[in-house]
Amino acid sequence: MKLFDKIKSKVIGLFLKENLKFTLISIFIGFLIGSMTLAVAGFNPFRAYAIMLSGVFGRLNYIAWVIIRSTPLILTGLSITFAFKTGLFNIGAEGQFIIGALVAALAGYFIQLPAIVHIPVVILLAASAAALWGGIAGYLKAKFGVHEVIATIMLNWIALYLTNFVVTLEAVQIPARPVSHNIQPTASLMFFQQWKVTEEGRAWLLDNFLAREILRTPFNAGILFAVILAVVVWYILKHTTLGYELKAVGLNKHAAEYAGINVQKNIVRAMLISGALAGMAGAFHVLGNTQRIAILAAMEGFGFNGIAVALIGGSTAIGVVLSAFLFGALQYGGTKIQLALGAPTEVINIMIGTIVFFIAIPRLIKILLAKFSKKRGEDNA
């Protein structure tokens, strides 16, 4: 009972916080304006949102899909948040994601180990490679003052073409198809991946509606890791000297330097960790969902969407988890509108873009609200 009271007061406290209030209002306004774009394009926004709502919550497997889609966004969102706390804008989460996915696909296919060892080895390799990828930008910034935004944008392109090159190697590519070989089953994070397609599994699932719903999707353990990592990130930032130093550098590097904190070292550390988080996003995406990587015509946007996720999440670990779910739901629900209303993808993307745009700018909303209430105040006077 005591614990319950404590949680209750915490939750209430959270809602009283200005930022959260404005985020919620911004989300509402985002949906409002999003509905206008739909209306302008000639679609009924009420129907569209109704479809979206039932398309996200209507069935258990829909919810499972939202979770699957949200998993990499949680991690890229955490990656960007982490760098941001040190005052760095990691545009390179996209490239680090690609590197993580590439290494996971390779290590998942070529290395043969029992699952209990294979999975951690693959994750570790992917995270390390992506950490180095991010670390390059960190090192360039610390050593030569190269702006991390420029460095990471370039590294994104290098990562993209590197992956495309590697996938076309004979040993990697499935002949005549633009994809790599699937990873070994021992590296997969998908729940009951083998069993659910066996005779026995199918028979059991036929009798168990809930499990059947969920296992129709590539539901996987990635979400557990993502949530655990969110807790780890929160703990590092809040409770360790590492987090204390990183934040001090981000908030005021002059004072940090004065107090004897090595600013350069912390910039590199932040980028290493940020890269590792984005790389794990790529790894879980491959190990849990796609099982392989494909030749990419363009970047998939997991890293870029992570920026929006981090922004909406207000740069807190818990906020990132929640906003990643919102983002995943929007993306998945958007596809449903497309099917049901026959709205072109572009309109749906404009709608999602509009919603995100307004969600991501609670500051603007704050200013607008202040103006509005001031005007009203004057009328009364």
Binding site: H239, T240, T241, L242, Y244, K247, A248, L251, N252, H254, A255, A256, E257, Y258, A259, G260, I261, N262, K374
Partner: protein
């Protein structure tokens, strides 16, 4: 005083209340300023002076209360409305475009044009005209980054006058000026009031109020205390009204033999940001149990010297020793570990992480060690206990250790830094302008802390632009000019004129 026209109330603020959330910055404040008067607004840091003036200038909207300008009620909704009412404000931090010329800055936003094109010749002529009219001489063609701070201030004043200001608000106008420039500013203010302008200055320097102001309104903790005729009051009366208690100006300091050599600087050369030698072969010794005051006009190498002592700026040549251990070009951490601590020149840039809490700032140099952390995990409880102890000991006015430091007044922010640095138990303390921007109450506190450290047989190097401060608490006084020491003397033998001359580069030989 003859310029005051008592029949016209240039500014009348009635019952101004300004709240920020639960915090009341201004509580029923009244202010009446007559035409042609210099009116000082006096109060401690955080008393609400700047808030009141920001209300007058339209930067804040009052929660309640009325403003009358020349007898007419006005709603000043933004600075543009204030300018229309003839109010101009010169902020403490100048708002000038560095790469523009003086004339360009003054006419910015109201440029004279000819056929839609900028008429620079006319602009320069206009600037020269008002410059002559008010005795504010500037070179209209000089770039801002090339002129001194005092000149930049004149440009700001001219900018306000160019926009037709009759009422000038000057926010802490002397904080950045040299003694000579202050004298000039006083003269400028007199010229302006003779021409019928009204001036409000925000300040906490009592000496200046006595020198230049006609009337003075005192605010304490957001409340109106009194308005006094400056000619009929004393500095100590003003001080006690401002602080709410008696203030002791003279610091008590017992005689003390100086001990062994603690900080030794040998032939030091340090470059400034532009790559030019700013410290040029400076040598200086500070002994245990003494406060050595380093006097000098801003920009003579003090900042570069301090930064090289604390490891923030590379030493080109020369050596620094603390207790005969060399610390030249060591990292800031290693210098701290060698027992040299410092109170930084710019507390908000170097001294504090403004978004961190009071407690977090208090362990900024000690978070790595037990009991504040163990194996990389912070011990928030120990940090809090430690912070509570320091808050108590150093009388930091705060809601508590978890309050963010940016919410504290300047004086209390400085107390946080001093608490931290003194508790480091340093052998040498470099105090760079430790009382800049503080009110008398806080200054008294800082001076006491420095003297206490000296009495505990520590070496204190006090770098200050305030000659009064150095004369007041230093045991020995060194004068820095163009990056070298041009004279050292016992404080007992010092006289203000001699030091003033040395600070300006004259009378070198005499002193050494």
């Amino acid at each position: 005083m003859k310029s005051i026209d008592f029949s016209v109330k240039a500014v009348e603020m009635k019952n101004i209340v300004k709240k920020f959330g639960d915090f009341t910055a201004n509580d029923q404040i009244n202010l009446t300023v007559h035409k042609g008067e210099v009116h000082a607004l006096l109060g401690e840091n955080g008393a609400g002076k700047s808030t009141l003036m920001n209300v007058l200038y339209g930067l804040y909207q009052p929660t309640s209360g009325e403003i009358f300008i020349n007898g007419d009620k006005k709603d000043i909704i933004d600075p543009n409305a204030a300018i229309t009412c003839g109010i101009g404000m010169v902020h403490q931090h100048f708002m000038l475009v560095e790469t523009f010329t003086v004339a360009e800055n003054i006419v910015l936003g109201m440029e004279p044009t000819k056929k839609g094109l900028l008429d620079m010749a006319k602009a320069i002529k206009n600037v020269e005209e008002i410059s002559k009219k008010y005795g504010l001489f500037v070179d209209p063609n000089e770039k801002i980054y090339n002129i001194s701070v005092g000149m930049q201030q004149r440009v700001e004043i001219l900018k306000a006058l160019y926009r037709g200001a009759d009422i000038l608000i000057l926010d802490e106008p002397t904080a950045v000026l040299t003694p000579q420039e202050i004298k000039e500013l006083v003269q400028i203010m007199r010229n302006l009031t003779e021409q019928g302008k009204t001036i409000i200055i925000i300040t906490h320097k009592l000496k200046e109020i006595k020198e230049v102001a006609d009337y003075c309104t005192i605010i304490r903790r957001g409340k109106y205390i009194d308005t006094v005729d400056v000619s009929k009051t004393t500095e100590s009366e003003l001080a006690s009204k401002m602080v709410g208690r008696e203030v002791i100006f003279e610091v008590e300091k017992r005689e003390k033999e100086k001990g062994k050599l603690s900080l030794k600087i040998d032939n030091l050369v340090v470059k400034n940001n532009r790559g030019i030698d700013a410290v040029r072969g400076l040598s200086l010794e500070v002994f245990e149990g003494e406060i050595l005051g380093l006097a000098g006009i801003d920009g003579n190498g003090q900042s570069e010297l301090i930064e090289s002592l604390t490891g923030l700026r590379p030493v080109v040549s020369g050596k620094i020793h603390v207790n005969s251990k060399e610390i030249t070009n060591k990292t800031p951490l290693s210098i701290l570990e060698n027992k040299l601590s410092s109170i930084p020149e710019d507390r908000q840039k170097r001294g504090l992480v403004m978004e961190y809490s009071v407690a977090e700032n208090m362990v900024l140099e000690n978070y790595r060690v037990k009991p504040f952390s163990n194996k990389g995990i912070l011990n928030h409880d120990e940090i809090k206990v430690f912070a509570e102890k320091l808050i108590d000991k150093f009388d930091v006015r705060t809601e508590g250790p978890t309050q963010v430091v940016s919410a504290l007044s300047g004086g209390n922010q400085q107390k946080v830094i001093i608490a931290r640095e003194v508790t480091n138990d340093p052998d040498v303390l470099v105090a760079a302008q430790p009382t800049r921007g503080l009110d008398v109450g806080a200054i008294e506190f800082v001076h006491k802390a420095l003297i206490e450290l000296r009495n505990e047989n520590k070496a204190v190097l006090l770098v200050s632009l305030e000659l009064d401060e150095i004369m007041n608490i230093a045991d020995r006084i060194a004068v820095i000019y163009e990056g070298v020491i041009v004279g050292i003397m016992d404080a007992k033998d010092a006289n203000e004129n001699k030091i003033g001359l040395m600070m300006a580069g004259g009378a070198k030989d005499e002193a050494i």
